[in-house]
Each structure stands twice: as C-alpha cells, then as structure tokens.
Symmetry: C2
Subunit: 633 residues, 2 copies
C-alpha cells in the first residue's frame, strides 16, 4: 500500500480479524493479507463461485453475476474475488467459503489439541532462591544449585559445560536468585526409569517468563517452524520457507543420491540448516533475543529429511532391505549441526516407522488423534512418496506408496510445482465446449501443478473427454488434437500462455502417469484396509494431511479414484499435521512419550512385498477403477 | 648406550627386572633405567651408604669402603652407586635400600589396590553379533544395535552423534559383528537410580582387546598419566611432565590470580591441556593408535587445577567464604577442552571436599584404603598447600594448611625446586666439623630444595648448630658466619657452587620460614586429632602422599617437628596416591562411587576458623615444638 492513500479497516467474521485496506483492493486479496483463507478455486477469476462472503456492515463495490443471483446479492452475498473495498466494512466468511471447505470442517481439531492437558515440556524452568554462601555454608556453587534442584526431586542431573562456566558470575550477579533451565528426557524403553535430566543454564529469574521452544517440520519441499512459549504454552504463528535442498533434487530419492556423491551429504545438511537459520532470523525480527531463551527444539520430518538434518548418510534407505540408519533418534545438540541457537539447546527428532513412513507421519498421527479414536480412520498424505495409515485406538497399520512424481508436477509434459503460472483450477462447459482456467498468481498459464492435473483430468473425465482408460475421446471437443506424443488436450495455445511460446497441453502420457500415481495410493490403502478384513466402505473418517492436501479438490480426487468414494463429510483436512504433532511434543513430554507409543503401534507394511497389492494396483489403473462398484454413489 | 658395545643383562631381585647394561655403568644408573628405585640419599656420591644391594650371581666391579666392611663385602653387599657392571649379574635390592626405605615398607600397598575386585569400568565393551537386516527384519541400524544392548539389560542409552554417523558403514564393513563401547555413569545422589548410559562407538570386534582408559593426576607442579587397558585391568607405567602452567606461577594462588587477568584462564587451560597432549604423544610412541580405543579419562587434581583444566574461572576459591564454583563435576567431553582424544571419550573428574582439599586428596584417601581401616590414620600431603586427613573407617576430618612455599624451595634465599643442582642430602660430622652434600644430578650445588632444607635444618639442629628457636648457635662450627640477613650457614662457597658466583647459604630467615611451614602442618593435624578428643600418640598409621613425600627423610622430618614423633614403622609412603586413586576409579565404577562416598565422609575444617588452631600454631614455632613432650622418644 502506498502511504498517500486513505486506508480503512475491513473486518472479517467469525474470527473478527481486522485488516487495513485501500479503495479498489479485492476482498480476496485483503483476506489473504490477513491470513484468512477463503476458498478461491479458480484463483480469483470469478469463475468458480466458491469465495462467497456475506456483507454484514458497510459497503463493497460488487454486482450480481453468474454465481450470485439477485436474491443472493440482496441477502448480502458477495464474491470475495470480485468485490472491491470502498470503505470500512464487515464481512462474514461462511464455513463453505473457507479454504477447501469440504474437507475443512474439522481442520481446527489439531489446533485444539495444542491445548495439552499437562504442562510438562521436556525443557522446564525452576526459580531457585539459593542462600548465598557464608563460612558456615560453603557449598560449591554447582553443588548448591544441584542441591536445591534435588530438593525439588531432581537428582543426579547432568550439567551443560557452558552453564557451569557461567554459573559463578550469574549466581552473584543475580544475588543467588536464578532461573534454572532443565532438560528432561523421558525414558522410553523402560518406563520405570526416571528421566535423564540435564541442567541447561542458569539465568536471570525473569518476570516476563519468556521461555521458548521451537517445533520444526522439515519437509522435502518446505520447512516450517513454530515458536512456542513453553512457560505459557502459547504457540506463535508458524512461518515457513522452501527447503534449500530443493535445488539438489525435488524428491527424497534424488536427495539420497546426491548425498552419496562427494561432499553431497554435507551440502544438503548445510542447505536445510541454512533454511532453518533463515526462519530463525525472521523470528528474530518479531521476538528479539528469543534465541537466548530457546531451550528445546522438536523436529518432525520424513526419514530421509531427518537423516540429512543430522548428517547421517541415508543411502541404505533406498537399498534393499530398506533399512534406515536411524529410526529412533537420541537427543542432539542443534548447535553442533550448525543451527544458530545457544549451545544449551537440545533437539529431539520424531522417530520414524520405516524408511518411507517417517517422523512427519508419526507426528501427523499424533496430531490427528486417530490413535485414540474408536472410528476406523484413514490418514493419508498424498505425494511422490505417499503415506497411508489406517486404524483405530486399538491398532494401526501403515505403508508408503511410491506414487511417482505426478502429484508434484513431475513426469508430466507441462508439469510444474504449485507456483505462479500453474493451472490449478479447470472448469469445462460441455454445451459451450469451452473451458476456464484458474492460474496460480492469476498470470498467464505456464504449466500444470499436481492438484491442477487432478482437477483437469476429473473434469474432462466427468464430461466424457477422457474415458475410463484415460484416453482422449476423439471428436468430442475441439481442444483435443494429435500431438507429438499422441492425442493431447490444448489448455492454452502458445499465444495465450506464459510458457515461452509453447502450448500448454495435457497428454495421454500425463494422464497415464496420474492414473499410475493415484492407483498406487488407492491400492495402497485398499490393501491395508482389506488386509484387516474390512472394506473401504467401513472407513469412518479420512484425514488428509500435508501441504498437497490443502489444495486438493475432494470431489475431483474421488472422481479420478485417488480418494475413496465416501460422503464428503467423512473427509477432514488437517493442515501441517507434522508441525502440529511436533508442537504438541514440544509442549509436553507426555505427548513426546505418547508419540513413541504411537509409533510403536504403527505396523509397517512393505506394499511391494504384501500379497495382493500388485493385483489391486493393476485393477486401479482405470478412472476411477476397474471395479466401478467401489465408486458407486 | 652405543651400539658397538657388547651389552649384557643385569637382573634385579626381588622384582626380577632385567635391564641391559654396558661394562662400566654404575649399578645405580642401570637400576634407574629399569625404574628400580634404590635409595641414594647422597645422590650417588658414595657418602650415605644407603644404596646397598646384594650380589647373588655374577660379578660387579667394587670394593669395600667407608660404608661396607670386609665382612659385608664378603657376604655380597655392594653399594649400587659405586659398583660397576662388568658382565651379567643378579642383584637383590633389600627393602632397606629401596627408595626412602623407612617409609616405603608398604608403598606397594596402593599398587595392590589396583587389583580391583569388580571388573566394572565406567566404559565397557560389548561384543554384539547382530543378525543382518532382511525384508522380514528391517529394524533400523541404531534400533537394531540398541535392541541388542537392551537385551543385555542396557536400556534407554543415549548415543554419541559421531557413533551414529559412522554406524551404517561400520555395521556393514564388519558384517554386523561389532564391539559396542558404552559409558555408564553411576547415579550418586539417588543410588536406586539406574546409571546413565551412552553408546560411545561401534567398532571392529577386535580380538586383541585393546580398550583403553587414561587416569590423570593434574598437579600444580607436575602432571602424570597412566594408560590402563580396561579389558584386562592392566595398568601401564605412569609417565609425567611438568605442568605447563608453571611458568605462570608456582602455586595455586598465583595461578588463580593469573586466571583472573584478561585471557589468563584460557592460557592456563591451554597450558595444562598441552601438557597432557604431550604425554599422550609420548604414549603414542609406545602404544600406536591407542587413542582410537580410548574411551574414558578419569582425572584427579586439586580444586584449582580441576577448574583450570575445565576452564571454569576459579577466583572464588580464594575469596571468602572460599566457595569453589564446582565441587562435584559432571561428565565432560575431553575433546571439547582441546585434548587430542576422540570425540567419544568421556572424562570424569574427582570431586573435591572444599576449595583447598581437592579431588587429588579424595583420590589419595581412596588409594590409601584408610576409609575402610579401623586404625586411626593420618594422611598427609606436604606442600605449599598441605592437606591433612585423619580418621578411620567410621569418620574422617580433613583440612588444608597454608604452609607457605618453603617446602617447595620458595621464600628461601637459595631455595629452588628439586631439580639438578639442588642440595637434597646433608650429613654433618660434628667431630671433624665437616659436612657432606648430596646434590640432585651430582653436579655442583646451586641451591636448596624443600626436602634438602628439612634435612639440613634437622642435621644442624641435631648437632647443636641450630637451636630450638631456629637460630644459629655461634662459635660451634666454622660454616656459620654473619651474612647480609644475619647469621647464615655456608653450604658451598661461590667457588664450589654452580650458582654463578654466589655462595649457597642457609639463613636464619630460611629456617624461620621452614619453622612456619612445618608448624602450620603440625598444628593442623594436631588440631584435627585433638578436635576429636584424641592425641597424636593415638595415631596408628601415618600415610605420606604426594611428590614431596617421596624425597622426605622421615627421621629428619620428625626431628624438626613436621611429622609426629611416632615409631618409624607407623609411617607409610604411598607415592602418587592421586594418580593411583584416579586409576582405581578408572578401572571400576564401584570405586568411582566409593570415591563419592569417601568424599562425602570427609568433614572439612577451615583451620583459620577452628578454635585453638592459632594457639597450636604459635606453640609449634620451635624445633621441634614448644612442648618437648610431644617429641620425647
């Protein structure tokens, strides 16, 4: 916003979030700036009608149209992407218009879980009022301090070297009234064993109670962190960035390969450490000096990302029999890894189940609460490496599906990541034989991202342009033509595209790849469900996790046979459940212990070695499936 | 020895040590080379007669003389310093001729203690035969390894980062048969608590069982180390060197002062680390590659030396109320301190009792066994900072005496350390009014070392040249003259001395300083003994520890009132008991725990604040004491 323009406040209900706005800005843009996620499947083109909001007070510049009748308009409904601010206004965002409303109904659930019952983080602070030494009481400083902690029941603490060195000065500067920060690591194998404890630091007994922990989700594509005040269990908003490793390969396999070459492991480690350090620097701007008060870091990541973070060579993850070097991680000093945090800080990393079902999934299951629910739940993280967990409070099985890169735009002729220029939304009007494109960033189309691919194939299948086998039906629509690789659908001619003079097309090979990918996921969870004598129809909940899930259109994902054909109200989008799970364990050592327990209860299946999987996979290579009864509504 | 000379073997009994020798070498030199310590108070001048050995086989070049009658000679007695090798021979070293025979009788006792009953070092090795992973058993490497250790009862181990990084390669190189090295730290405060354990490394399951620990005695003056094969409890011979800190001050106070200036602490730490690294380099020559197999370091040192080693600012040790920063040390990574040892190695440091009764004394008491004896024992370490422990198996009290530097040659006009040129032995012939000097290194006299000072003053007092008040008696002997500082005794005129044209003299001020020092020690242990309602006559054993003790002549030390007047058979010289105690704790975690227990049982007295001490000190300022009955034989 330029400073010479009069600004005013737009208020969004029900969250009562106020955002400064300028005249002429779209309500969608203003909402985005306020981090209010409004569904805009078409990317703000006014073609999907899913961004309806309700004007409660004030005025906006708007008019009825294709998606809003006169009656709707009279009742106050507006399209957020088309309505423009003209003065102060209050708008209500109905649940249907929130991002991915169909799966979002219980999205807040994981957040609610952040209200952990016990205030028992692995790093805790104790205010100590020591009696100053005198000739009759000349205990050594450290022995005096540890004695006071022993009186609180904390015996036999290990002591951080740096803390010990600073101790004489701190004690005297603070007149022997100090805050002791202690790390407790609960014993896992032998629950009777008292936790291992380490005195991390002595510091000024501050009144403002800043006492921080950091949860980190290390994803293959992006890294998210969340600062938590462990004194109050207040979790600050997450911030994220692309994982710096992305320039060394898009998926875990290419990272593992790179790590095995020369100095590759070190380079990859430096990249991800650099990414996290960058996020810490951003936190610095908001919470100056939080670092000195940072004691605990809890990380969740997939198996490969965890190894690369710590600097453990991951090659055996991808070599049979797929044994990762480490599944359960010991406590690590993040400063040793190069993180810009004090030497006293301790890092715990979520345990993984197997080479391809990692700590991110364990954290996700923890965040989802499925481990404590009687409902038969499918937890699914769609991606190149797709992870699936099914089960209830009594049992859980899990598996990884090697879906291939189609969901991330790989192996697709004009595939790309979900970045500006990617076609994400696609509507086809069968009577007019016209399509509408929703492009991320609203510029010219350059390519197709994963969720766009699903939406396009679903819509074309729905309208008979693509058949059950994934082949284009000739002479149905004018966009299908013979291309270099057989029939293809022209999404945008070179003249309309942002793709440097290239047509943006969808080929039959692209569709084949998508079918292969969705089939791998489908047959994966089908194998797990049927392996325990149940059917997909028995599923009571489907929890969709991960970054890709957030842009997934449920109806379309079901249409192509990626997700099971169940009533939409059974689907829940859980957001970054890896980060949420890490945050829970950061806040509470009980949750950390629970995570180990949850992980122990997740029985891993290697699908490629599970009888029946290959047959199910073959049967899934249709749209939506060979067995149409699986998708009969 | 030059290579073109025919060498032969000299065998020393009773230890049956064989040493290669050349014709013409003195038996004393040969014995020294074989580390057989033969008493040679005169420094090999043939004037003390205390180095008698018995020829059992073969021949040596020798003749009777002042100290050997024809009869003695016929019976095979020889003076080791005068007898020269001429061919293979076997010699018996009688107990009287062993170094400091009068106090040496049970010197081997501490060594015997090295036969620890339990083989339970804090670092232990386990041979693991893991089943290699296969598709049906795809546990992660670390989880597989920890699982095998858990099957041995070792649950919830922490894991060394470096070990984890190397693990995948080591396991596969060794076909999953490896040696796991594990550190166990026994809980002290809560003995019910299982020990803290850390997996230090995985390595080749070697057959030669090299598995090393290092004990270290960090003295203010010198540093000694001893390599121990923890697999066999074999302790290799100790090696030592001057503490590199010596150029920054001779005593702990000057070191503390230096540490407080600018970068002083870091410099002092670097010096002592450098000294130990130098000793490690010497061990390298004998035991190549021992470092990779070094897992545990146990250190004993006085309170100040321990702080300087770790790099903790020690200033409060010398400021009232004399509170050291640390008494009980946590486990420390010696590699963090700059020691040239692998990152997996762990260091434990003996706890101290107080600012001036340090871990070296705790280790000494451990080595002495006094804590488990019903006999009332005085343990005494004579030095600038003299330490005293008295007690039995039921109780122990201890104190430090600030004796001043006289015992180490300080505050004495021609004082020097016990180095070549120092007069150590002094015999006075009252009839001939002549003296004989024994000089360390047998060169010209340069000055007087601490033990020499005691010997000279005792001998002169014995023969009436010095009186009870420590003053020279005039006209008794020709060596007494009026000097710059009053009367003085000329030990060597400038023309005979090696002291750059200076006379080597003993002044009345020197004698005063010695009286002050010996009085501080005497009144210290007298205060402790009488404080529990006993008298010095009740003492059943006196154990003399420390480097200075080894050169102490017992009769002379009693003569001047430094040691209590008790039958000589009650005195025992225990050698470097600090190193021995550290070695015991290195070999056995039970001994380590016992050391904590022993330390807890040592009740510290601050003499300066103990009623009666000053009176006793004043009364001790005579030779041997104001109360002659204390020294009546």
């Amino acid at each position: 916003m330029s400073s010479d323009v009069q600004t005013f406040e737009i208020t969004f209900l029900p969250d009562n979030i106020k955002v400064q706005a300028e005249p002429g800005e779209s309500i969608l843009d203003i909402a985005n700036r306020g981090q209010i996620h409004i569904n805009a499947s078409c990317g703000g083109e006014g073609v999907c009608g899913r961004c309806q909001v309700e004007l409660r007070d004030g005025e906006v510049e708007a008019s009825p149209g294709l998606y809003l009748s006169e009656k709707d308009f009279a009742e106050g409904l507006r399209l957020a992407c088309r309505a423009k601010a003209k003065g102060p206004a209050t708008l209500y965002v109905p649940i249907e218009s929130r991002a991915d409303a169909s799966s979002f109904k219980k999205a807040a659930k994981a957040e609610e879980n952040l209200e952990v019952k016990e205030h028992d983080p692995m790093a805790r602070q104790y205010l100590l009022e020591l009696s100053p030494p005198d000739p009759a009481d000349n205990l050594a400083d450290l022995d005096r301090t540890l004695g006071a902690l022993a009186n609180l029941g904390l015996t036999d603490l290990d002591v951080e070297l740096a803390a010990m060195k600073k101790m004489p000065q701190v004690l005297r500067d603070e007149n022997f009234k100090v805050r002791a920060s202690v790390f407790f690591e609960p014993a896992i194998a032998d629950p009777e064993r008292p936790p291992y404890g380490r005195l991390l630091s002595l510091s000024k007994a501050t009144l403002d109670e800043t006492y921080y922990g950091l949860s980190v989700d290390v994803g293959t594509t992006s890294v998210w962190v969340r600062l938590v005040n462990l004194a109050t269990n207040e979790a600050l908003p997450p911030i994220g960035d692309l994982n710096g490793q992305i320039s060394f390969g898009e998926d875990v396999i290419s990272r593992i390969v790179y790590a095995g070459k020369g100095n590759g492991l070190h380079k990859l480690q430096s990249q991800v450490i650099g990414t996290i350090n960058g996020l810490l620097a951003r936190l610095d701007e908001v919470y100056p000096n939080f670092r000195d008060n940072l004691y605990l870091v809890v990380v969740a990541g997939n198996t490969t990302m965890s190894h690369l973070l710590v600097g453990v060579e991951p090659r055996h993850i991808r070599l049979a029999p797929y044994v990762p070097p480490v599944a359960s991680w010991p406590a690590i000093r993040p400063s040793f890894l190069g993180l810009d945090v004090p030497s006293h800080a301790v890092m715990k990393i979520f345990p993984s189940v197997s080479s391809y079902v990692g700590g991110d999934i364990v954290a996700g299951v923890l965040a989802s609460g499925m481990y404590k629910s009687p409902e038969l739940t499918l937890f699914i993280d769609v991606g190149t490496n797709g992870e699936i967990v099914i089960g209830t409070e009594d049992w859980m099985t899990c598996a990884a599906c090697s879906a291939g890169p189609a969901f991330e735009g790989g192996g697709v002729k004009r595939g790309m990541r979900a970045a500006p220029g990617a076609i994400e939304i696609f509507n086809y009007e069968p009577l007019a034989k016209k399509h509408h494109l929703g492009v991320i960033g609203r510029g010219r189309p350059i390519g197709i991202c994963g969720s766009g691919l699903i939406n396009i194939v679903a819509e074309l299948y729905r309208h008979g342009v693509i058949n059950k086998q994934g082949k284009f039906v000739e002479n149905v629509c004018p966009y299908v033509r013979e291309g270099e690789d057989g029939l293809e659908y022209v999404l945008a001619a070179a003249s309309e595209s942002g793709g440097e003079g290239r047509d943006v097309v969808l080929t039959e090979i692209d569709v084949e790849n998508l079918i292969r990918a969705k089939g791998a996921m489908f047959s994966g969870y089908q194998t797990l469900v049927e392996g325990v004598g149940l059917t997909l129809g028995d599923l009571e909940r489907v929890i969709i996790a991960g970054g890709f899930g957030s842009s997934l259109n449920l109806e379309n994902a079901i249409e192509i046979g990626l997700l099971p054909c169940l009533p939409l109200e059974k689907f829940f989008y859980i957001g970054n459940s890896s980060l949420t799970g890490a945050t829970l364990a950061l806040m509470s050592s009980s949750m950390w212990r629970l995570a180990q327990d949850v992980r122990g209860r997740m029985t891993n299946f290697e699908l490629s070695e599970t009888p029946g999987y290959m047959d199910k996979y073959m049967a899934s290579q249709f749209i939506p499936h060979t067995d149409a009864s699986l998708f009969a509504r």
